[in-house]
Symmetry: C2
Subunit: 228 residues, 2 copies
């Protein structure tokens, strides 16, 4: 079936995001370097984030709270209040960091918006995502913007229903196999995967789970114009 | 014009919320009682929250980060890591607290949903609000659920446009003059105000700003059934 609507993921599909988390994580491990080696800090931070997902969800604020908890645990309460304030300041810097578009993001979205209604479908913290979308300057190219707390097949189904979109005529474009590709294929829609150089551990998918899945694999956003 | 759609605020309109923040704030001031008198702690916490709104938005996670910052500042960095962990735990308890419906909330919403399409229109943290809506057991009575980062006239306008609702035929019900009543009147819709016993300082409106504003003032949700 031909494509009638196109959905775009935002973080690491249209603008850089994971790099900002990694940069912050580096600063965090540097801050605790006197207490522990960085691999150990990273390992415990990831475990803390996973444990806190059910209380805090995705996003920068939850990440900051997990960094603080990790610092307290790893140092057995020896981390100082000043160091904790530095961790909070790292979070504020993330919130204020400029939104850096990926190469060809603006051109691709602008061009496609002339031929297709576009949706921006992103996962994370509402406040944080709205702020990034506003700063990206891309919002006017989208017919609708959907900020979701998670990207599951049923959540995608709801979004398509709201816009009265036939799944088979919908193409989702994103960098996360777990969030942008597999759940979309599960509801009978189409998906185009564009790998980003960095991938958060939590978003990784095992190779066997991809066997026989009929999605498009593109090298860059520019290739999308050739696909549709 | 007769009412065709009804919108409901959630926090402190359908379920208790401010009481949970106040209870947590009491525990927080208790935790710092050895350092400062409670009025001083409360005053600085409020100032910190206001300063952080532009970075963190509304919601529990931002509140927790503001409590931590307040504790660090007020104690001039003498607060211990263990005390900071306790503050984070206060936040987790808030996230997990049961949703307590206001009296008549379920009956009112259920009854009205038989005659009107209802919208739930709430402000705050996406993850937190979705979780509360799910736990409230009320979501099935609403035609749509809109979680917004702020409630301004233009944001209400967008919501009504999305559902193709004529402002004059829309009634918004809520406990916040600032967020549920004044912005709704500003776009030519109708509003019913039901006072809640507690009001966050930030949501308060000065008496002169209410002069001549044509909204309904109800004593309880049950009165809503008589109004429409």
């Amino acid at each position: 079936m031909t494509i009638q609507w196109i959905g775009f993921d935002a973080d690491d599909t249209l603008w850089h995001n994971e790099s900002l988390f990694l940069l912050t994580q580096e600063r965090f491990t540097h801050l605790l370097a006197g207490y522990h080696p960085s691999e150990e800090i990273e390992k415990m931070l990831f475990e803390t984030e996973m444990r806190n997902l059910k209380d805090f969800g995705y996003g920068i604020k939850g990440f900051v709270l997990s960094m603080i908890e990790t610092a307290i645990q790893l140092t057995e309460c020896r981390v100082s209040a000043a160091e904790i304030q530095e961790i909070i300041n790292l979070g504020k810097s993330m919130m204020r960091a400029p939104v850096e578009l990926l190469e060809q993001a603006r051109e691709t979205v602008e061009t496609l918006s002339r031929s297709y209604p576009l949706l921006l479908i992103t996962k994370g913290d509402l406040f944080d995502q709205e702020s990034k979308i506003a700063r990206s300057g891309l919002s006017r190219f989208f017919r609708g913007i959907e900020i979701l707390s998670d990207k599951t097949p049923s959540v995608y189904q709801e979004v398509l229903k709201r816009y009265e979109i036939e799944p088979a005529s919908f193409l989702m474009v994103g960098n996360s196999l777990k969030s942008d590709i597999l759940p979309v294929l599960a509801i009978g829609a189409q998906a185009a995967y564009i790998e980003y150089s960095l991938c958060w551990e939590h978003e990784k998918v095992r190779e066997p789970d991809l066997q026989g899945k009929p999605f498009h694999k593109l090298d860059s956003l520019a290739d999308l114009l050739r696909l549709v």
